[in-house]
Structures are given as structure tokens and as C-alpha cells.
Symmetry: C2
Subunit: 465 residues, 2 copies
């Protein structure tokens, strides 16, 4: 690979971030060259900024010298979007971790983008608020990363994704210019919506350095229901029925038959053998009201094919109900540590067709496919249990992936609900997005990043990036 | 003004829309040349499309021939965004009024953009759903217009604006190309967010022809509270207190002292003379729960300076409480039929500073300023009661406007919460948006609309459009 840095450039970068703000030793750089995909590439240098102006200066220099510049939070992404495949410099935002302002009267918090999701939740939680996006990696992942991928999690079914929970941004474009987007208020229509354009752009348009996040007051209490069904059809009907009535759950998660089989085999939990699909339904609200709301959800969930439904209110009972779901991930990790994990989305009513077709695909290909995820959004984590180091399995897996994506698009769905495209899915993007829109997106990219230095190769089909 | 159409072009346009799809007589065209601002210009022709492909063909022709093309819903905008100041053709979407699909299982509806807000609400209401955006002009205004301006209304405080309630769009760019944006699901992160980029772009990037809207199940019931306060400080403290707790009202409207004075003088309602500010608080929810929720809101609203609080549950009581608010608009219309109506936004906690400064401004300028609006969003309708045909008053009014916008920006606010920029506010845009962002917006405009035919002059500062 072409080298982009020479001693003079390293000196200039050092002058911006200081001696302690740069790694150039490959051993030091290595841990900043991978994420939670199977991709890896050692960056030529890793930079640690502690303030916005450093990032502007770094970007300006990289723009002038045409050095690939890859912004990175904590590397919990699953698509290789922060892997420097074309070399260049990784810019770690992890030291930009100050909470700059908490304004409870106006329900907002202003943070640097390296603040972790957990750090944020703890800080605003002390004042009775939360920020709805809750990716599984919340303990580690950064707000900047959450915004870059528009990462959500179970709560999105009630509270939306980062796009619905962010008021404004401060960012550095690919030419090193500073922009501030959006507002400090919950309404604002002056100019085009650059805030949401940056959210979900995977670091390809600008480097987000600060965000003004919209906070939500914490509900008083929670209640959890576990409903088991004969088959996926019944469970999907229950999901539609739940989403048709006014009590929106704050989580509506499901596991399919293959996932339950996995738990039966690899945990000591006793699961009724008739259960073909499981829903976990969580609601939050006021203490005086939670029982009645839970009863309403239980009623909506009671469709033909329901086998059993349990409601939990105490922490202990809730933990017991979640046991089945929590037993799944270790089971999967045991069987297929390098499994392929997709996060497709289909309209809620099409979930049964998706799952059934995946069962057929599994039988045809000989690859076990396990499905679970955020049913209320139709966001299904499809897990192909295979060993990618086995070329035969890998080929079969790639065939499965293509079939999966065809299937999802035919059902009116989308290739990704929260993981994004990154590098691993870019060859499939033009199946979903029409060529006129793709050309417009490329044109927007060129305007924000004229020398195409920011996360090059990420998000677009390979041919013309 | 330069004429853009000749007989040959008119023939070509007729071939696209048919004999019944075009007006060229100035008398016929006139009613399509104004909106709810004070601006007016007669279009050279008015076209009525009934399907997407006609719009693509019209736009392609206008693009080739460089004819200004102004998409228009029902002309209820307040900023002149649909007034053809540079001549050309107005494209009325009012005949594109089909509801194409209602998918209750997936909580979505697909509509043509000429469907009116009311038509939509009635259609989906029959199935137990609603679409949250509720501009005052809901009986008349179109979904396309709501999307073009990101128009909201009182319910935005709980349910958000069109940006939070739209899944995807079909649209025609300024070069006549068709794009489909977004998804049919509540999550989706493939590609840049062109959906929200188009929403609020005031018809300058593309003509929206279809929209997939996210529906919300209708709550069982509503309750309304009216709280009167000694002064605006107490009322604003109440607003902050209400927004800090988990029961979010579905409307949180306010009237300031000047508005109340107006009602006292021009209606037969008896208002306690001590009342300096009034809040109207509405909640929706389940029947079994609404009283307790109302009690919580009443408690939150009971801050120092509260004079009285009333709760209404029956339709009759609710109507009685809204009487004061509803008496305001006729009163204003009587006094100043051509008043200037702004819709600035400030952070909720800064409302008192805004109102006080406006009182000072009113005294200095001799112009009565009356304020009311969506307090929960900090979205204040500032009404300058003046006669714009009186040059002296107009000059004083323009001075007031400038001071108002300075004030709003100093308080961390934005120039518009739902009306948009259009033509009337474009000279102020660069006070709010930095020059780098403005250049990026202009570049985006050029990509979507290379010959700058769509609503030319709208939304950007005059100098460089």
C-alpha cells in the first residue's frame, strides 16, 4: 500500500496534537486498525485530538496533502467503516470526552463526540433524564459513533434513533472547515437539514466533534412481558397487534425457532419444546399505571398461537424473563465465534416470510441461520453460523448473504437498520438505492470532502468511489 | 419581467398535462400567484399534474428550457415560497390527491403530495391512527406543503415534526430525474438521509410527488388544562417544570400579556385583570389514566406566580377553556389585518427574556407586539400589529423585525420554527447559518437542480442565489 506520511508530515501532525497525541509505531497503531468486523489494516499513524481546533487543523493538513483520514470512536462498529484499508491516519476521538453543558430546563445536553453512551446516560440520569439510543455496546461506544451510524437499539421502537434525538452538531468537513448545524431547540426550519445528513453518513462527510442531544425524562418504572408462541406467524401477528394500539412498548424483541433451539441445546434453561418463537415486551411509564398498561399489551399479544405469557415487575422477575434472551449470545459465540451477523429490516408484517425463507435457505445451504432482534421495528439480526476460514462455508455464506439481501428488498425492507454499510456491505448498496440518488450522494460527498480523504471507500459501491 | 414561455412551449406542456391541465389566461393564473404572505406575482402558466410521470416530463422540459418551475400545494404558506417572483410556471399538486395505500399492520400510509392534511387524518382516523403534524391550516394545506416546510403545529411538542414522522419520499429533481428516498420501515441507515434533506427544503431541491408517512395510534382520550399566571416569568417556569417530568403534554400553548389585553378589549370574555400570561396544556392518553396524568401536569404547572388552574375533560368544558385562545385571532385580524406574523423559536427557558425585550421594543417603536404560540417547543408567534401600507409604520416594523431576529439569535434560538424562509426572510438567513454551511447548501442545491429552475430565489440570501 502507498505510504502517505513522511517525517515532515509526522512533524506537522505532532505540532498539532503534541508528543502524546500521536502513535506511529505499528505495534501501537495496530489496535486502532480494526473494529467488530473481521477486517483489519494497520494505520500509518493514530492521532488523539482533545479539542475541535486540533481536528480542524489535522483535517486541513490531510486535505492539502491528500492523506486518508478515518475518524474513530471506540471501534465497536461491525462494518469496517473505521478500518484504514487505503492507509492513512486514524483519528481517535476517545479523548474528546467532555460533557460540555447540561441544560435541564431545555432538555438538552451538549457533549464532545468521544463521550461514551454510558458516560452520557450516567451524567444525565442523575438529573432524571436519558438519551434514548441504546446500542448493545453502550458501555463502550461513543456518541460520535452512535451518530455516525445512526445506531439505535431496543428503545428505538418507542423513542426513535439518533436522527430523532439530536438537535445540532459541530463538525469539520473534509476540507477542514468548521460547520455548526441544526439548533438548540426542538423546532427549526432554517436552511437544509445538514444535521440529519451527517447522522448516519459513517464519517464520510465530516468529523462530528460536538453534539447537542435532545433528552427525555426518565419514566418512573418498567414492566416486562415474555410471550411464547407456537410459530413465527403467531408472534408476528402479535407484533402487528401490539403496534396497532396506543401503548407503545419501549422494547419489543424476538427470537425465532432456531435461536430457541440454540438456547435449549447450549444452556440449562428449560424451554417448552412447543415454543417456536418468543417475544420480550417491555413497557415503561408511571407507577400507578404500569399494571394496566402491561395488561393492555398482554391483551394485544394474546393472538391465536400464543402458548404462554408472563409478566414481571420486580427486578428479579424481569432478570429471570430475560435469561432466555441473554443465554443466546454466549451460545452463538460458542458455536460460531466468527459468525456473520446482519441487521436487515423488513416491514413488521413481512417478518414471517423473511424467517420462513431463511429456514429454507438454511436447509439448502447447510448453514445454520439464527434470527432475533428488534421486532417492533422489523429490525432482524440474521446470524449465519459459519466458519469464514473454511473456504467452502465462506462461499456458501456469501451465497446466503446475497439471497438474504434479495429477499429483504423484495419484502420492502432495507439492508441495514443500525449497523450501516461501511466496507463490508458496500457491494450491495446499489441494489437498494437508485442510481440517481447514488449520484446525488456522491456529489454531496464531493462537496463536503473534495479530495475524498474522509473514510475513503466507505458506504458507496466499490466501482466509483 | 422576462417571458419564459412561447406558443411552442405551451403546446409541449399541454401535450404533457392535457387541455384541462393548464391555465395560461392571466385571470386564471392570478389565484396561483400568491400565498398567505403579502407577496404576489402572476405565473405565466399554471399546470395541474395528476401523476408522477407528468411531473417528471414537465420538469425535464423546464430544465432543458430553463423555465422557473414553482411547485405549489394549496398556497397556505406565509413566506412567499410559492410566489413566482421570477416568472415561469406554477405547478399545482392539488389534483395529485390520492391515498395510495394504508398499511395498518406496518403503521404507514402512502399518499400523493396533494392530499390535504385533513383528508389524510380522516382516512387514517377511521382505522384508529393519526399523522402528528397539525398546522393551523390543516383543513386546506397539503401533505406536500407540510413536508416542503416541515410544518408542525401544537402536537409537535409530544409527537415531533414531519421530519420525525416520514419514512420515505418519491420526488423529481430539478433535472427531471426520479428519486425514491428512505424506507418503508422505522429504521434504515443505507446511504445518506435524503428524505430529511428534502423535508424543509421548500421545494428548492426536488418536487415531492409521493410520501410514505409514519402513523401513530390514536390515544383514547384527551384532557385540557388552563393555567393563568401573574407574569411571563412564572408561565415560563411552569413550561420548564412541565417539560422536566415524564408526562409530555400533546399541546403546550401560551399567550402573553399583550395577547390577553387584546382579548380583554375585543371580546366579551371576562379575564381576571391580574393575569399576565396564560398556558393551555393538553394531554392525551388512556381513559383509566388521564385524570392522574392531568393531576401530574397540574402539579408541575403549579409554580410560584400561578393564579388559577382549571382542568376540563368534557368536550364542552374543553371548548370553554380554549375560548380565550380562539378569541385572539379574530381580535388581531380586526385591529391589524395586515400584521406581520413571525414564528421564531428560543430555548424554553429564554422565553421570558424574549417577551420582555419585545415589550421594550414595542414601547420604543410604538408598534403593538402580541405573542402567543407553542411554548413547549419555545416556538413563539410574534405579531407586529401594523399597517404595512403606512410607510412610517412599515419602516418601524422592519426595524423591529431586525431587532427581533438579533434577539432570537442571541438567545440561542432560530428564525423560524415552522413557517420557513421563502422569500420574505431570506435576507436574514446568513445571520443564523455560517458561510461554510450556506456554501454547502448552495452546492447541494446545484446538484439537485443544476439549472436552478425550482423555486428560484427561495430560501437563500438574495446576493448569490
Amino acid at each position: 500500500m502507498k505510504s502517505h506520511l513522511d517525517n515532515s508530515l509526522i512533524r506537522q501532525l505532532k505540532a498539532i496534537v503534541g508528543e502524546n497525541g500521536i502513535f506511529t509505531d505499528p505495534g501501537d497503531c495496530l489496535p486502532y486498525g480494526y473494529d467488530n468486523s473481521r477486517l483489519q489494516a494497520t494505520p500509518e499513524a493514530v492521532l488523539f485530538a482533545v479539542e475541535h481546533d486540533q481536528i480542524a487543523a489535522i483535517t486541513k493538513l490531510c486535505h492539502q496533502q491528500r492523506i486518508p483520514l478515518i475518524p474513530r470512536g471506540k471501534g465497536t462498529g461491525t462494518t469496517g467503516a473505521t478500518v484504514p484499508q487505503q492507509g492513512g491516519v486514524v483519528l481517535s476521538l476517545e479523548r474528546m470526552n467532555r460533557i460540555l453543558e447540561l441544560d435541564v430546563d431545555n432538555r438538552l445536553v451538549r457533549v464532545e463526540s468521544g463521550v461514551t453512551n454510558r458516560q452520557l446516560q450516567e451524567h444525565v440520569g442523575a438529573e432524571g433524564f436519558f438519551w434514548p439510543p441504546d446500542p448493545t455496546s453502550a458501555a463502550v461506544c461513543t456518541i460520535g459513533g452512535n451518530l455516525a451510524y445512526n445506531s439505535a437499539g431496543p428503545r428505538a421502537v418507542k423513542y426513535g434513533t439518533p436522527r430523532e434525538n439530536t438537535l445540532g452538531l459541530k463538525a469539520v468537513t473534509g476540507s477542514g472547515d468548521t460547520i455548526t448545524t441544526g439548533v438548540r431547540t426542538t423546532k427549526g426550519v432554517v436552511g437544509y437539514d445538514l444535521t440529519r445528513l451527517l447522522i448516519g453518513s459513517e464519517g464520510t462527510l465530516a468529523i462530528i466533534t460536538e453534539a447537542i442531544l435532545k433528552l427525555t425524562p426518565k419514566p418512573q418504572t418498567k414492566s416486562t412481558l415474555q410471550a411464547s408462541y407456537r410459530d413465527i406467524h403467531s408472534a408476528a401477528n402479535a407484533v402487528s397487534a401490539i403496534m396497532r394500539q396506543p401503548v407503545t412498548p419501549c422494547a419489543l424483541e424476538f427470537m425465532d425457532g432456531a435461536a430457541l433451539a440454540m438456547v435449549r441445546e447450549f444452556s440449562d434453561l428449560h424451554l417448552d419444546s412447543r415454543v417456536g418463537a418468543l417475544l420480550m415486551i417491555e413497557i415503561d411509564g408511571a407507577e400507578h399505571n404500569i399494571k394496566q398498561e402491561a395488561a393492555k399489551l398482554a391483551k394485544a399479544a394474546s393472538v391465536e398461537g400464543l402458548l404462554e405469557i408472563h409478566t414481571a415487575e420486580t427486578q428479579q422477575e424481569i432478570a429471570r424473563l430475560w435469561k432466555t434472551r441473554k443465554a443466546l449470545s454466549p451460545a452463538l459465540r460458542n458455536i460460531a465465534p466468527k459468525k456473520i451477523n446482519e441487521d436487515v429490516v423488513v416491514p413488521v408484517s413481512r417478518i414471517p416470510e423473511l424467517i420462513e425463507s431463511l429456514q429454507n435457505l438454511s436447509e439448502e445451504s447447510g448453514i445454520t441461520i439464527v434470527n432475533f432482534g428488534h421486532a417492533g421495528n422489523g429490525n432482524i439480526h440474521v446470524n449465519l453460523l459459519l466458519d469464514p476460514d473454511d473456504p467452502q462455508q465462506l462461499t456458501a455464506g456469501e451465497h446466503c448473504l446475497k439471497s438474504l439481501f434479495d429477499l429483504v428488498l423484495n419484502l420492502g425492507g432495507t439492508l441495514s437498520g443500525e449497523h450501516g454499510i461501511g466496507i463490508v456491505k458496500r457491494q450491495f448498496v446499489d441494489r437498494e438505492i437508485d442510481s440517481v440518488s447514488l449520484d446525488l450522494m456522491r456529489a454531496i460527498k464531493r462537496q463536503f470532502d473534495p479530495h475524498q480523504i474522509l473514510s475513503p471507500g466507505v458506504g458507496f459501491p466499490v466501482s466509483e468511489t
